[in-house]
């Protein structure tokens, strides 16, 4: 059941990103699949987050029509970075730390894709670095807000339980 939810959520993240990007231009710079992997790394299991990253990445590659593996590689790495950083740094009520972690993960994801493109196909888009930076900022900002909301929701749920 857990793995079905994992696969389903990954699939939905991609679908959502595609629909949103079609209707709102800035959503093209929001990496929902990365945030999903981050969510899994922060609130569930860091190890499972790796699989979420891989799966969402492969689905994204399929959706983009790229060779499968570019985004899978990058998102797996990003999920690992988020999980490890979240464990090591004090992120409780520290929005800038969170922002930095998300932005770093997004940048690592983009950089790995960029390098893989260059290494395997000897070509890469000239706008890729700038767009990646913008994506990192937007994704990190949305991530900080979204996870703050999640934290608030979880706190309320905890209070209710007590």
């Amino acid at each position: 059941m857990k793995y079905i939810f994992l696969a389903l959520s990954s699939f939905l993240a991609i679908i959502a990103q595609m629909i949103a990007g079609e209707n709102f231009f800035l959503f093209n710079f929001l990496d929902l699949s990365l945030l999903l992997a981050a969510y899994w790394a922060i609130y569930r299991s860091r190890m499972q987050a790796l699989f979420v990253g891989s799966l969402t990445g492969i689905l994204l590659d399929a959706a983009l029509g790229w060779p499968l593996g570019y985004n899978g590689f990058g998102r797996t790495l990003a999920a690992f970075v988020v999980g490890q950083c979240w464990k090591r740094f004090n992120t409780a009520d520290q929005p800038w730390v969170r922002f930095s972690i998300f932005a770093a993960a997004s940048c690592i994801n983009s950089a790995s894709i960029y390098l893989l493109f260059w290494f395997m196909q000897r070509s890469s888009s000239g706008i890729f670095p700038g767009a990646s930076l913008l994506q990192a900022v937007i994704t990190a900002g949305v991530g900080v807000v979204a996870f703050a909301a999640v934290d608030g929701y979880r706190r309320i749920q905890t209070h209710k339980a007590h």
């Binding site: 860091r46 190890m47 790796l50 699989f51 891989s54 990445g57 492969i58 060779p67 499968l68 593996g69 570019y70 899978g72 590689f73 797996t76 790495l77 690992f80 999980g83 490890q84 464990k87 893989l116 395997m120 196909q121």
Partner: protein, 280 residues
């Protein structure tokens, strides 16, 4: 502690997943040459391992062959050594044949230029005493060889037939102390007598002190002795001294290498039935 263990497990999962993605990519992306990246990577990964194993197995094999697998190597070595010796001898024989061929061609050319009947002969023996200056040839009376028949080689006159039997003849070399040939100097055409002394050098007699003689001048047969035809080369003047008496002391070096004589030609009378026969 559980967190650390969880982190290690994450890392343990991360690496295979990343490799899996790379493998997935490499199975889809082709190099410009058309080879899948996966194949070229696999080959690149195999290369050092294969090279290492090849070195190891090659080294072990060499060691085995070099030190342990020597059964029969000694016998093979002996056989090869014998083969080399046999081939060396064969090669030497071929080289001798080539040289002999060259000498015979010179002889043949000389015979043609003289337009005389000649008989090829092989030197079979030399007189026991080196000072005797006599050699034996394998042609005799039944081949048409007569006493006093001139014997020549490609370079010039060798001597004359001194004795003849049915199948061989004794040749008196021009260096023999008893040999004397009517000669003339090439430039001045001054006649003289070239006599053997037993030494490698000949003595040119009866050339007057006033006659011009140059070192290096050729000495030719004059034909006046009634044995040798006129104009054949014999030797070259190497020493000239004004004599105490009327004549100069002149030393002549034969053109023919009489020490290493192997094939000669005997000049025959025109009436002799067998002419220009091949060497045996």
């Amino acid at each position: 502690m559980p967190s650390r263990v969880n982190g290690q497990r994450s890392a343990a999962v991360l690496i295979p997943l990343l490799v899996l993605h790379l493998a997935l990519l490499s199975l889809q992306i082709e190099r410009p040459s058309g080879t899948l990246l996966f194949k070229s990577w696999t080959m690149a990964a195999q290369a050092p391992v294969l090279s290492l194993f090849a070195r190891i197995t090659g080294g072990v094999g060499d060691f085995w062959r070099g030190y342990f697998w020597l059964v029969g190597a000694r016998a093979e070595n002996e056989a090869l050594r014998e083969a080399v010796n046999r081939l060396s001898l064969l090669n030497g024989a071929y080289e001798q044949s080539r040289l002999e061929n060259a000498r015979l061609r010179r002889l043949l050319a000389l015979s043609d230029s003289m337009q005389k009947h000649t008989l090829g002969a092989r030197v079979t023996a030399r007189a026991p005493s080196f000072l005797a200056n006599l050699v034996y040839i394998d042609r005799g009376e039944r081949h048409g060889v007569r006493v006093d028949a001139p014997v020549i080689s490609g370079e010039g006159i060798v001597g004359r037939v001194l004795l003849v039997s049915a199948g061989q003849a004794q040749v008196q070399l021009i260096t023999n102390p008893g040999a004397a040939i009517g000669v003339m100097l090439e430039n001045s055409r001054t006649p003289g007598v070239l006599a053997g002394t037993g030494d490698p050098l000949l003595e040119l007699k009866y050339i007057g002190n006033t006659d011009p003689v140059a070192v290096g001048e050729l000495v030719l047969s004059s034909g006046l002795d009634g044995i040798l035809p006129k104009g054949m080369t014999i030797g070259r003047v190497v020493e000239v001294e004004k004599g105490k008496g009327v004549f100069q002391a002149i030393r002549v070096k034969p053109l023919v290498d009489l020490i290493h004589l192997e094939e000669v030609a005997v000049l025959l009378d025109p009436q002799t039935p067998e002419t220009a026969g091949p060497l045996p």
